[in-house]
Symmetry: C2
Subunit: 160 residues, 2 copies
Amino acid sequence: MSTVTEARIEADPTVPVIRITRDFAGTPEQLFRAHTDPEIFVRWVGPDSTSSRIDHWDARSGGSFRYVATHGDDEHGFRGCFHEVRPDRIVQTFTWEGMPDGVALETLVFEDLGPGRTRLHASSLCDSFEARDGWLHSGMEVGVNEGYAKLDGLLRDEAV
Amino acid sequence: MSTVTEARIEADPTVPVIRITRDFAGTPEQLFRAHTDPEIFVRWVGPDSTSSRIDHWDARSGGSFRYVATHGDDEHGFRGCFHEVRPDRIVQTFTWEGMPDGVALETLVFEDLGPGRTRLHASSLCDSFEARDGWLHSGMEVGVNEGYAKLDGLLRDEAV
C-alpha cells in the first residue's frame, strides 16, 4: 500500500461529496485527539495565513462547536454539531457562516495502518453539486494541505 | 396554488435526497412547535401502530435528541443533533440505530401560505443513492402519512 503524503482531494462523480485521503505518522488515537481536543485543533487547522480560536467546543456525540479563523482584519466563523464522536469515526455538520444556510455533513474515519501510522478518510456531503463544486473551487486545497502539514509537525514534536 | 393534502414524497434524480411536501392548517409557529416541543412531537410522529417516547431532547442550535418508537415488543431508537433551530428552518442529523453508521442530514422549512396555513418542506440528504432508496423502500410513507394525519388532528384540536 502506497503512502498518501499529499492530501488526495477527490470529487465523487455521482453524489455531491468531496473525499480527502491523507496518511499521518501518528496513531488513530493521536488523530482522534487532533480533531477533538480544541487546543490541539486550533494549532493546525486551516492555511498558514490564518489563525484560529475556539468560541465553543464540546466534542462528544450530541455536542457542538464554533471556531473563528482570523486572516488580517477578516474573521470567518465555522460551526456545527457533533452527530457522533467515537475513537474510529467522527460525524459532524459544518457551516461556514459566510453562507449560513449551507451545511455539509462531514465524516472522519481514522484507519489504522499499523504501528504509528494512520490514514485519514474525510468526506463532506453537500446538498447540491453547485455547493460541492463551490467548495472545490474556493482554494480549499491550500487550507487542507497547509493544515495537515502543521499537523505533521505537531505529531513530529509529540505535541498531540 | 393547489393544496398538498397528502404528503408528496419525491426522490431527487441527481442527488440522494428525499423531499417531502405537505400542507397543514396551522401557522408556521405551530409547525415549529410540533417539531421542537417533545411532548407534542411524540403525539404525532410515526405510524399509528407505534408509540414514541423521548429519551433526550434539546431542540436548540447545537443541541441533540434521541427518541424510541415502540411497536409491540420491538423498540427502535432514533437520534441526531440539531445543527440549527430557528423559527422558519430546522437542520438536524438523523440516524436509525438499527443502522448505526447511516446518517441523513434533514432540513425542515415552514413556508407561510397565509392565514393559518403552512407548507412543510422536509428534505433528507443521504450519503448514497443505495441508502436513500433503502429509506424509500422501507415503507416510510406509512409513517409519514399517518404521522401527519395525527398532526392534522392535533392542530384541529388546538393541541399545538
